[in-house]
């Protein structure tokens, strides 16, 4: 027996066994394995990509500038307090990313800059304009992205999705993958809702309040805003409440003049749940201790006034405060359906996003398409493999059978390798496997043709096989490496499905080097070692 055949056989059997162990979780057999096996042996196998099992892949951009804007607005508000406490004479206004003080006297500047060293002056004259320093702005954006990630995680946890993938990408993007989800539209809404809950006082006392129309048609908001711009007090703003007539279904908008100052925010909530009032769902909320105290203070100071409950810039209701409210309970009504109320309670409980999200990409795949794709992939794989297998036997006879054995070995090892890496199988990935099957026999073809050359030159089968292998080796190696180079590039630059293709193709090609150079050769050696072979079936 030729030296090393036994060792090579052990090597091949070992790798096949290993592949089988890794691939086992993908077969129905895994269920019936003993407990210790399930616990200690590989249990993950190959996972299906979103395109095969259905689900959504979303890319959001956290609008970091908005987070900086919100911080700017908050600083401006607190500066107003500071200025008035120090009895300084200055008006503080904020617009977008800028804060302007009407006075640039030394005292005012000192008061502002001592309180907020992060502000840097951008324009100085009789007035002075500040913006948040670039370094601080970047920190705010970064932490906004972090917070958004955390909030989205919380929301998805409460929504209940098995094995979600949520991660940051680049500086300000968040990638969310939800496999196997049934109601993608609802999930997108829950993730994307900013859910900034604010309580603001309605300014019915301002003289201009009486001039504002009680109701307008939807779409006329801009007209109203333009009409009253400059007429309303500087620290007021106009927000809109949506009202739907229960009987007619007609939608109207109600402009409401509110103070810009936010009395309370959703940060102080500890609980939000759906309740029913005569069959109509509403969301009841409970504040934490700090929030409850603040809520009591606000309601005590503003009895008989109206308090607007604002969610993402839209007024949901503006009830009159009849008595001071202690205990920290509040509610949001708004003609909700049961599901809307439930989703709202989820986002309120999980907390607000620090800045709005902008959807950059949405790939939604329904479960039936995935099943169809898998079926099509299986069919194409089986037919493709059969065509190749039959062709090899017809063309190379017994040697073709050997090549086909190597091909089967190739497929087993490929599946095992993918399972051991917990690789994700995508539709292009299936195409990669099928292409790799076609390429796998290439090495054998190259070798067999070389062996035929040698036989034609009059060499004995054993010498022909050996020198055929040696001569074909570098050709096979070179042709595989070029395919591997492009597969590596695809892996580096590709997105989900294409990465899947790169993984299967490169694994397939790499494993092929092993099956062709070790697998086929071992079988040949075995046949040729048994007896004095005069003729080779090739």
């Amino acid at each position: 027996m030729k030296k090393g055949i036994l060792w090579r056989f052990i090597l091949i059997t070992g790798t096949v066994l290993l592949a089988a162990i890794f691939f086992l979780p993908n077969t129905p057999l895994f269920k019936d394995m003993p407990e210790w096996w399930k616990k200690d042996m590989p249990d993950k196998g190959i996972t299906l990509g979103l395109d095969l099992q259905g689900g959504i892949h979303l890319v959001f951009e956290v609008e970091g500038d908005k987070a900086v804007e919100i911080t700017t607005e908050r600083i401006a508000q607190s500066l107003r307090d500071i200025i008035s406490k120090k009895k300084l004479n200055a008006e503080i206004a904020s617009k977008g990313l800028l804060i302007t003080s009407s006075s640039s006297s030394m005292e005012v500047r000192k008061a502002i800059e001592d309180s907020y060293p992060v502000l840097t002056p951008v324009e100085t004259g009789t007035t002075i304009t500040y913006k948040i320093s670039d370094k601080e702005a970047n920190r705010i954006k970064d932490s906004a992205a972090d917070q958004a990630l955390e909030t989205i995680r919380n929301r998805i946890d409460q929504f209940g999705v098995a094995e979600p993938t949520i991660h940051r990408q680049g500086t300000n993007e968040i990638v969310v993958q939800l496999p196997g989800i049934k109601d993608p539209k609802r999930a997108i809404e829950i993730i994307g809702k900013t859910a900034q809950l604010e309580f603001k006082m309605v300014d019915d006392a301002a003289p201009v309040a009486a001039e504002i129309p009680a109701q307008i048609a939807p779409g006329e908001e801009e007209v109203i805003l333009k009409q009253f711009a400059g007429k309303i007090p500087a620290d007021d703003e106009i927000l809109f409440e949506k009202s739907v007539n229960r009987e007619t279904g007609i939608v109207r908008k109600r402009p409401i003049l509110v103070k810009k100052q936010t009395e309370l925010t959703g940060d102080m909530l500890k609980e939000a749940r759906v309740n029913l009032d005569k069959g109509v769902p509403y969301v009841s909320m409970a504040f934490n201790n700090v929030g409850a105290k603040r809520f009591e203070e606000v309601t005590t100071a503003n009895v008989k006034k109206r308090l607007a409950i604002v969610l993402d810039g839209v007024v949901y209701s503006a009830p009159v405060i009849k008595n001071p409210i202690s205990g920290g309970n509040a509610m949001i009504e708004g003609n909700f359906s049961m599901q809307e109320a439930k989703d709202l309670s989820i986002v309120l409980k999980a907390g607000a996003l620090p800045a709005p999200l902008k959807m950059l990409q949405n790939v939604t795949v329904g479960p039936s398409l995935g099943t169809d794709s898998i079926e099509a992939g299986k069919r194409a794989g089986i037919i493709g493999t059969l065509l190749v297998v039959v062709f090899m036997i017809v063309y190379y006879k017994l040697s073709g059978v050997i090549a086909d054995c190597a091909l089967v070995l190739n497929i087993i090892l490929l599946l095992g390798a993918m399972a051991s890496l917990n690789a994700t199988l995508t539709m292009p990935g299936i195409a990669g496997i099928i292409l790799a099957i076609g390429m796998a026999v290439d090495s054998n073809v190259l070798m067999f043709e070389r062996i035929r050359d040698e036989l034609r030159a009059g060499k004995t089968p054993r010498v022909a096989v050996d020198s055929g292998y040696n001569k074909a080796f570098w050709t096979i190696f070179d042709s595989h490496v070029t395919t591997l180079i492009t597969a590596a590039v695809l892996f580096q630059f590709g997105t989900g499905p294409i990465k899947g293709f790169a993984v299967t193709l490169s694994l397939g090609v790499a494993i092929n080097l092993f099956t062709a150079l070790v697998g086929t050769k071992t079988i040949f050696d075995l046949i040729l070692s048994r007896r004095d072979v005069r003729k080779l079936s090739i």
């Binding site: 959807m359 070029t482 590709g494």
Partner: protein, 303 residues
């Protein structure tokens, strides 16, 4: 021994003029395609151009024209519809939407529910790509192609003599451009999946070229007294059957994918089929003749 091709003595090198003319036309079409893609005038997929693509499966057969009319009457523009009548599926693409993501797909499903009340449907898939992601994917694809080509060039130059490296690279470029050009002329979509196929073709088309070059290198040692042209002819004839058979096996699996692999990878398999055919052709008619011409130029220069 079953042999497809036996002891051929075809004068491949002598046919290089006709081959160069044929390939020249392919290359020009390919270059035109690249210019059109770069200037945004080609049929770019929504992953590159941005937009919305919705695949809808109806319960009962629908007429494509009716769907188009329903959508256009409701004010949707830049529509591109395609149907798979055997499975009652319709693919709707809306390019370059100005609206926020999500609105177009909502609008489409709303219109279909209204206009086809008796025919229930399920949304098989929705893909929405904003302009920012589209731009990034375009840049990534261009980068990927550049890196792959450089990688292959470096490897082949390292393994073979420089002239052979140039010949192999030109043949590879030729294959990629030819498939891209044909896709462009056929009006098929240029998308990420096609770029994947092109890169795979680039990697694979070298297999045949390497087989031929290997034999030429070997024969150059053995037949060093013969002129290069006849060494090349002899080498190509010697390896002709394996060049064709290796391509044939990949072609078999590509054809299986094309006919049975489903719509997701239909264009991918089509590109692979073309790529394998063109790759085999170029390894015979383009790669070696290019080396020959480079050598001749050098010889003339030396004189």
């Amino acid at each position: 021994m079953l042999e497809l091709i036996k002891n051929t003595k075809i004068d491949f090198m002598g046919k290089r003029k006709s081959a160069f003319i044929f390939s020249g036309i392919l290359l020009i079409i390919g270059i035109i395609a690249i210019i059109q893609i770069a200037t945004g005038r080609a049929n770019l997929g929504i992953d590159f151009a941005g937009g919305t693509s919705i695949q809808i499966k109806f319960e009962k057969p629908v007429i494509l024209h009716d769907v188009r009319k329903a959508l256009e009457d409701s004010g949707l523009k830049d529509l591109d519809l395609q149907d798979l009548p055997t499975v009652n599926k319709i693919l709707i693409r809306v390019k370059k939407t100005e609206q926020n993501l999500g609105q177009t797909s909502d609008a489409v499903t709303e219109i279909l529910s209204q206009k086809f009340p008796g025919n229930k449907y399920v949304v098989d898939s929705t893909t929405e790509v904003g302009p920012k992601v589209g731009g990034r994917l375009r840049a990534d694809a261009a980068k990927a192609i550049a890196v792959a080509v450089v990688g292959i060039l470096v490897y082949v130059a390292f393994r073979f003599q420089f002239n052979f490296g140039v010949g192999a690279t030109i043949a590879t470029f030729h294959d990629v451009l030819a498939v891209l050009g044909v896709f462009y002329v056929m009006g098929h979509e240029i998308n990420l999946i096609l770029v994947t196929a092109l890169l795979t073709i680039a990697g694979y088309s070298l297999t045949d070229t390497v087989v031929v070059f290997d034999r030429i290198r070997e024969n150059m040692k053995r037949m060093h007294k013969e002129p290069l042209e006849s060494i090349m002819n002899a080498s190509i004839n010697e390896v002709l059957s394996r060049t064709i058979i290796t391509s044939l096996t990949v072609l078999l699996t590509s054809v299986a994918l094309f006919f049975f692999g489903g719509e997701v990878i239909h264009d991918f398999s089509l590109a692979m089929i073309m790529g394998v055919v063109v790759g085999t052709y170029s390894s015979i008619f383009i790669a070696s003749p290019t080396v020959l011409i480079l050598r001749k130029k050098k010889a003339v220069a030396k004189r």
